[in-house]
């Protein structure tokens, strides 16, 4: 995970029996009356369901869902969990387990009902109102979601992801003070950048851009996260700092969201029953860079689904992600043998061959991948890098162009690369065109402006070269390269003037 939250790893396990709803938490800045409200809400809610403080008089059976066409494993799992509930009807844990199974297998309504039953029976447990709150939030029942989260936080006021969700929903409800308090609590617990981002969001909503900048700049100096850059951009723009805003927005142009670990949420994954669900979960784990966890999820399915293309591809990706190329290779070979028309296998095995220095095999498989699916920018890009490494810049430039045409995420970097290729060949006008296009996509690329300036100078356009360098200097990075380029451009200008004079 790129953005770990301090404190989560040290989170103390909760006691199984509630200590009461209103444990003091002196470290936290609580919202006025929040605990009282949460307590009243929780007490009222429980009273309605079970009668004030008494043991449940009559327990409802958990809901049953229709399972048409469902995976037999899911049917079996739900059957087993229903059996456990019948065997221990007063066990909140059993109902909670059933609720989690409903939740992660796509039965939101049944999950909500069952979480409520579990919460009723297991009043000190954090998870059930927490999971219920997340479901309610997702469906847009924000008032109910906030109430459920308050009940969860009354059980564990130190759980950072709960405060972060609470803060976001408060923002969505326009309750800025409550949002600010939630994010302050998260920050006090060590949430780090997600809490600061939330606090900055509150300040932007309050039309206090200077306060947002004061929050964001120190954090972003370390993290350089797109979301923080974008918020900084909004704040700069509101302050009339338009150039700073444009640079910040350029640096925040990728839509990478802020992420944080949620270990409580992760425990629901044990109840994903179907093969497809497990595959989806493993892919999410890979995206979250929890590669070992993904392999643990995927490996057991090989016995039964060993020929499945999605399983083989996902497993190979996981092995590659973990750096275990020895195990990735046979998986990809098996995938290729079984699914020779699936470009994924050609692409991934080509990358392995390239890493091993087997350029011929890498090229063969990349060509096949492109033939099978010409729309994959990432394959064209890989092909370009391979060709470049083989000393074939002309062909590499063609491959990079194809990647750009097919929507490469890093189009500006590829344009920069093709600009360098043109520059190396002395095609200065073409280089100018490439570097200019790159800067049209991203105005924050200092080194591209440096090369643009050099290329402009080569074509005798010294004023434009100086302007490019002035902007590069304004960007504030790679100062040595900018200075060197400025000296070079000036020398070229002087030489050009001298020649003209002569």
């Amino acid at each position: 995970m790129p953005y770990l939250i301090d404190g989560l790893a040290n989170r103390q396990p909760r006691q199984a029996v509630a200590e009461g709803c209103f444990r003091p938490t002196s470290r936290l800045k609580h919202m006025p009356h929040t605990k009282a409200i949460a307590g009243i809400c929780a007490a009222t809610w429980l009273a309605i369901l079970v009668g004030c403080g008494d043991a449940p008089r009559r327990l409802q059976a958990p809901p049953v869902v229709s399972l048409n066409d469902a995976d037999p494993r899911l049917v079996e799992l739900l059957d087993e969990l229903h059996g456990a509930v019948r065997a221990a009807p007063r066990s909140g844990e059993m109902r909670g387990r059933l609720a989690m199974a409903y939740d992660v297998n796509g039965f939101a309504d049944a999950a909500l009902d069952t979480y409520r039953q579990a919460e009723l029976l297991d009043q000190g447990e954090f998870s059930w109102p927490y999971f219920g709150a997340l479901l309610l939030g997702k469906r847009g029942d924000l008032a109910d979601a906030l109430a459920a989260m308050e009940r969860a936080l009354a059980n564990d006021p130190k759980y950072i992801p709960a405060w972060l969700s609470y803060g976001a929903w408060c923002l969505d409800e326009g309750r800025l003070e409550k949002a600010a308090d939630a994010y302050e609590n998260a920050r006090a617990l060590g949430a780090g950048s997600p809490a600061v981002a939330g606090l900055a969001q509150v300040q932007l909503r309050r039309q206090q851009p200077a306060a947002a900048v004061a929050l964001l700049e120190p954090v972003n100096a370390e993290l350089r996260h797109p979301h923080l850059y974008r918020m900084l951009g909004s704040a700069y723009r509101a302050l009339g700092r338009h150039e700073d805003a444009r640079i910040a927005f350029a640096r925040g142009r990728l839509a990478t969201p802020m992420r944080w670990r949620d270990p409580v949420l992760a425990k629901r994954a044990n109840f994903i029953a179907s093969f497809g669900g497990q595959i989806t979960y493993a892919q999410q784990l890979i995206q979250a860079e929890r590669i070992d966890d993904a392999i643990e999820v995927l490996a057991p399915w090989q016995a039964e689904y060993g020929e499945d293309a999605v399983l083989l591809g996902t497993l190979a990706s996981a092995y590659i992600g973990s750096g275990d190329l020895q195990r990735a290779f046979p998986v990809l070979q098996r995938g290729l043998a079984l699914h020779p028309d699936d470009f994924h296998f050609h692409f991934h095995i080509a990358r392995l061959y390239a890493q091993e220095g087997n350029a011929a095999s890498a090229e063969k498989h990349l060509r096949q991948a492109i033939q099978l699916n010409p729309s994959q920018a990432v394959v064209h890009e890989e092909f370009g890098h391979l060709l470049l490494s083989q000393g074939r810049p002309d062909e590499a430039a063609v491959a990079f162009d194809a990647a750009i045409r097919h929507g490469a995420v890093n189009g500006s970097e590829l344009l920069h690369a093709t600009g360098l290729i043109e520059a190396a060949r002395g095609n200065w006008e073409a280089a100018v065109e490439r570097f200019t296009r790159a800067t049209e996509i991203d105005i924050s690329l200092t080194r591209t402006y440096v090369h643009l300036a050099r290329s402009l100078a080569e074509t005798g356009r010294f004023a434009e070269a100086r302007a490019a360098l002035a902007w590069a200097e304004r960007l504030g990075t790679h100062r040595d390269e900018v200075a060197a380029a400025a000296q070079l451009v000036e020398a070229m200008r002087a030489q050009s003037a001298s020649v003209e004079h002569t």
Binding site: V65, V104, M231, F249, R253, L254, S274, T280, G411
Partner: protein, 556 residues
């Protein structure tokens, strides 16, 4: 000066009383009645689903409301999808309005019965001959149908050079180079071909893949109208190849009021693009800088349909993007050319998450002078527990009433007596029975469409304009400004937006209790000066033609 106080006070007082008493479009009484079949529309959309989950099947289906035969009523064009596996798809259908909002199928030989895997349609008079032409977006080659003025069409795609192949979605006509003819923007979704089709598991259920699984966003296209029946692809020279995504919705308007038409593209699970027109056939994506690339939380949502409208009466176009279930709508309030995510302020942050929204329009259904909001909904992943039991993607549509304090209030059951549930996709708006109430046409996946006739029983007064160029074509991009009482209201000639659809371009003004619109002005989008003309005052209850050159020069 002092002598005017009492009168001004009186006007304010009367307006205030009228505003306080008027309550157009109650929350309890139905706003619409579904009458497609009884009004003669026997179309049934076919996605072609036959067991394989092929991406276009889950996002297809678009309508157009347009006057193909020049008889001043709205005809209906419905794009059929058919089958991605079988070349012999059923044709698109054209229904002619009999003048009272009842329809008959156009007689054979009309030429608009194109067969392809249809997605949606855009309408516009590209050849400036006074009749509306149709551009059909397909999975496969797109088609331009030229209207001969009698409602008969000829396929001129190849000659015009706009037969873009791919999985196209949002197409729109707009005069992007201000040369008084309509250019063409084509939004593309995914670089998809049936040979690349994949199956995906969503929560363990085999279903359609989200676009990111294909990892192949498709570049959009911009075609310049050369004025001789042909178009030139200027995508690269205009800079539109600098960024692209999984485009589903698009709209064109002059967001920063610099006299040039800009283009907004909503992308599915990727950042949006806002192509700001630099005025020299070049565009720059400024979505991030101007605040509409992602939402307030930094999330690139599943942008689908798009609507524009001046919801806050400040003279610039606000922007609404609708998204996937679990994600809020994004209401981007235009603050002089840059955008503030005002979704929460508009009352949309909670309720909008309940469904997957595709078609979307901002229109004044109850004629109270405030824009209401209608959304056509339908999931892209199956509902829990209904696999194999009918339409597993179906969801109810949603209606919000726009209020005087600038928010949207949810109306029960989508404004119907009882909620209808299908898989809604394309959505167009227009007054098909010409009774002063705006009606809706919704295409439903694998089902008949809805023709939702406006039944708001206490609608306010209304006035509608057909705003045309010197040559007589609808002046797309022109803005009409008028006083409703003391409030200045702005409405645009804008048939585009929504999702895969083309709507009635005529600006419609709800007047509430007012009986006239005063100080009507038009700001023209292109061509020779003057850019603004004044046309005076107009009584309510009719459609008035405002033609360029017939007004007097005025300040905006």
């Amino acid at each position: 000066m002092g002598g005017r106080w009492p009168r001004l006070f009186l006007i304010g007082l009367v307006s205030g009383v009228a505003g306080a008493c008027a309550d157009y479009g109650s929350a309890s009484a139905p706003w619409f009645e579904e009458q497609a079949a009884q009004r003669g529309i026997d179309f049934r959309h076919q996605s072609g689903f036959s067991g394989r989950y092929l991406l276009p099947e889950i996002v297809a289906g678009g309508p157009a409301l347009l006057d193909v035969d020049g008889d001043r009523d709205l005809d209906v064009y419905l794009v059929q999808s058919g089958s991605l596996l079988d070349a012999d798809s059923p044709p698109n259908r054209l229904y002619l309005n009999q003048g009272d909002g009842r329809f008959v199928a156009a007689p054979a030989g009309h030429g608009a019965d194109h067969r392809g895997y249809g997605m949606g349609a855009a309408a516009g008079d590209y050849d400036d001959d006074g009749d509306v032409d149709i551009y059909i977006v397909n999975t496969g080659n797109n088609v331009l149908l030229r209207n001969d003025g009698q409602g008969r069409f000829e396929d001129v795609s190849a000659a015009a050079g706009v037969d873009d192949a791919g999985l196209s979605t949002a197409a729109l006509f707009a005069d992007i180079d201000a040369d008084a003819d309509l250019d063409l923007f084509v939004g593309n979704y995914v670089d998809w071909h049936i040979s690349m089709a994949r199956d995906c598991y969503v929560q363990g259920i085999l279903t359609y893949c989200p676009p990111q699984n294909y990892n192949a966003p498709a570049p959009d296209r911009l075609y310049r109208n050369d004025g001789n029946g042909a178009f030139t692809d200027i995508t690269a020279t205009a800079g539109l190849d600098r960024a692209f995504g999984n485009g589903l919705g698009a709209t064109a308007t002059d967001f920063d009021q610099d006299g040039n038409i800009d283009i907004f593209v909503a992308n599915d699970m990727m950042v949006n693009q806002l192509w700001m027109n630099q005025g020299d056939e070049r565009f720059q994506d400024e979505a991030a800088y101007r605040g509409c690339a992602v939402d307030e939380h930094g999330t690139a949502k599943a942008g689908m349909g798009v609507a524009t409208g001046d919801v806050d009466d400040d003279g610039d176009a606000d922007l609404l993007v609708v998204n996937l279930r679990g994600q809020t709508d994004s209401f981007y309030r235009n603050q002089g050319g840059w955008f503030q995510d005002a979704t929460q302020e508009m009352g949309l942050s909670a309720t909008s998450r309940r469904h997957t929204r595709f078609g979307v329009v901002l229109a004044d259904f109850d004629n109270d002078g405030y824009l209401d909001l209608y959304q056509a909904n339908g999931r892209v992943g199956p509902r829990e527990g209904v696999q194999g039991l009918g339409d597993e993607f179906a969801e109810p549509n949603v209606l919000y009433r726009g209020t005087a304090d600038g928010r949207f209030e949810l109306i029960p059951d989508g404004g119907l007596a009882a909620s209808l549930v299908h898989t809604g996709r394309g959505l167009a708006v227009g007054d098909v029975d010409d009774d002063g109430g705006l009606d809706l046409l919704v295409v439903n996946r694998d089902a008949p469409p809805y023709l939702l006739m406006n039944r708001v029983h206490d609608r306010g007064n209304w006035l509608r304009f057909r705003v045309v160029t010197d040559s007589g074509r609808d002046a797309y991009g022109a803005v009409v400004s008028a006083l409703v009482g003391t409030r200045r209201v702005f409405r645009e000639v804008d048939p585009e937006g929504s999702y895969l659809a083309s709507s009635d371009p005529r600006p419609h003004f709800g007047l509430g209790a007012e009986t006239a619109l005063r100080d009507v002005k038009v700001r023209w989008p292109s061509g020779p000066r003057p850019a603004v003309e004044a046309f005076g005052d107009f009584k309510a209850g009719r459609t008035v033609v405002l033609q360029r050159g017939r007004g007097r020069p005025a300040a905006w």
